[in-house]
Symmetry: C2
Subunit: 324 residues, 2 copies
């Protein structure tokens, strides 16, 4: 059986999750693709950090060049996070003929054109399903099976932390500050929650969705963005009384040929499918001119859901480039 060699850049939660799936479901993936997908090197720069998943120490390296410039690596999976050095690593890997999979919404949203153009120039695949809505296969759907549609609107609940906070505020009548503290204690919110609660994370993901669905690139910092820090218990109660729910929505829509976009808390009628998306779940509501309304719902974060999307991209690349 042919073997495809995979190098992982990053071995944090997401890197660990992807590695776990590639190990645990190795035979399943081989059976479904006819190709063995093998992780042969892992960049791990901090050896002392506690890890969720363990790897053979012989696989580990502290030098990114051992992966992005290694002649024996076919697919590079970038899971470092942050814009740099992640973007440079991805471009270098592509220039060295490697296909690239990434979960890094910040880097992709900031450098969408550079990254897709570098992939095109070097005739390599560049897939990033995991960068938006974690395990939910919405990017693949937009690019493939929905490809005969003009998209009219895309509305997403794209950030699990804020959706968890808004759900708890609604269900328990607590203030934003109380729920945030509790979410931080339980690990559902970061010690510095700025990127989540200010809507920056959602804007990164919306930028990627806009690029894919509408073929326009809008930099994430050009998307008008309002977070949830100003939402009070009284706002939630007012929404409840009006039969509505407050959700942080990332929305892009086509109005007279122009794409309009916004990340902001919004009132949603309780009968809307997005209103039932609670806790840390994500969902993307898509309207196409032919298919009408669709919703994709699932886990937007976590090592295994995110790892599932990464491995799905690896499978796509194997089928397209290594199965012939």
């Amino acid at each position: 059986m042919k073997t495809v060699k995979i190098g992982l850049l990053g071995f944090g939660n997401v890197g660990g999750g992807a590695f776990h799936i590639l190990s645990e479901n190795k035979e399943l993936i081989a059976k479904r693709t006819g190709v063995a997908a093998e992780v042969t090197r892992i960049l791990q720069r901090n050896r002392n950090k506690k890890r969720l998943f363990a790897a053979d120490p012989a696989l580990l390296t502290e030098d990114p060049d051992d992966i992005i410039k290694a002649p024996d690596i076919d697919i590079v999976v970038e899971m470092i996070g942050g814009i740099e050095p992640a973007t440079s690593f991805m471009c270098q890997a592509m220039e060295n003929g490697k296909h690239v999979v990434s979960a890094n919404k910040a880097a992709i949203a900031a450098n969408y054109r550079l990254l897709t153009e570098t992939a095109r120039k070097n005739n390599v695949e560049f897939l990033f399903e995991a960068s938006v809505a974690g395990g939910i296969p919405v990017l693949s759907a937009l690019a493939g099976p929905l490809g005969a549609n003009n998209f009219l609107e895309i509305t997403g609940i794209l950030n699990g932390t804020t959706n968890y906070i808004l759900t708890k505020m609604t269900e328990e009548g607590l203030s934003y500050e109380e729920v945030l503290k509790d979410a931080q204690a339980k690990g559902f919110a970061e010690a510095d929650p700025t990127a989540d609660v200010e809507g920056i994370d959602a804007a990164n993901k919306l930028s990627i969705l806009i690029a894919l669905a509408f073929g326009h690139y809008v930099a994430p910092d050009a998307i008008p963005t309002v977070g949830i820090t100003g939402i009070s218990a009284a706002d939630i109660e007012a929404a409840e009384n009006a039969g509505q729910k407050i959700k942080l929505l990332a929305r892009a829509s086509l109005r007279e040929g122009m794409v309009e976009y916004l990340v902001a808390p919004a009132f949603l009628d309780k009968s809307h499918p997005l209103a039932g998306v609670n806790n840390e779940f994500n969902a993307v509501y898509v309207t196409g001119d032919m298919v009408g309304e669709l919703m994709f719902y699932g886990r937007g974060a976590g090592p295994l859901p995110t790892g599932s999307a990464i491995c799905g991209d690896i499978i796509s690349i194997i089928r397209k480039r290594f199965s012939l």
Copy 2:
């Protein structure tokens, strides 16, 4: 620009919908794939039937061989419905080197192994996204981006007619018979609603989902199937009082390595995402060992949603076979 020539078998509602999309969004599809997809022949056996969409009469033929044996057709789209002659037409088209797209759940469920095996032997693509849950791209998701998962459970609301009837019974407190009559008057239910209300349509679709997700073929008539004809207004009220909803569920799950399956009305807690799937909408709830729970929601029928899925399959085939 390269042109891919498409022959349509059937020009009823679904055939008309697919034709409309291929005409209306011709430039969009060409821009996204780099290939022109052109319908060059249409099998229409009853010229006197009223049509939703019109085609140039020069494209029409009454002889299926003009499509399935024509040397200048690349992709055959089967939208005749029924097990025969649809299955024979598809096999003959494949034996003549044509890629086949089908929306025909009855034929695919009855002859899954024959059709997939014939495609394999003749090295042609065989795609059938439209056969399950209409415009919802769930088959593509199971086969592609979720391919690193062992599927643990698949539960679907797969029949729009019965979901419409159950929704109206719930919302308006009417009896099954009253709602059915109204649905027939509005065109949401067939004059002979047996295949829908007895769960046969859902069992066909579940058979296809089981084959894809679990790699087992189960004939649709081997799936224990109970329809909705026995549901009374009192049942609906009892469910309401218990905070639940009655839905016709098609479910397959893995229990100790065995696949269990059933189509039957079931009580669903109102907090379950499937409980909010109302009227003619469909949804498929998928649990994977890595990705966790996902739901795909949208329109399960209708010329344009079904046509959207057919055109998505055509795009996949173009990308895989004609874009190189």
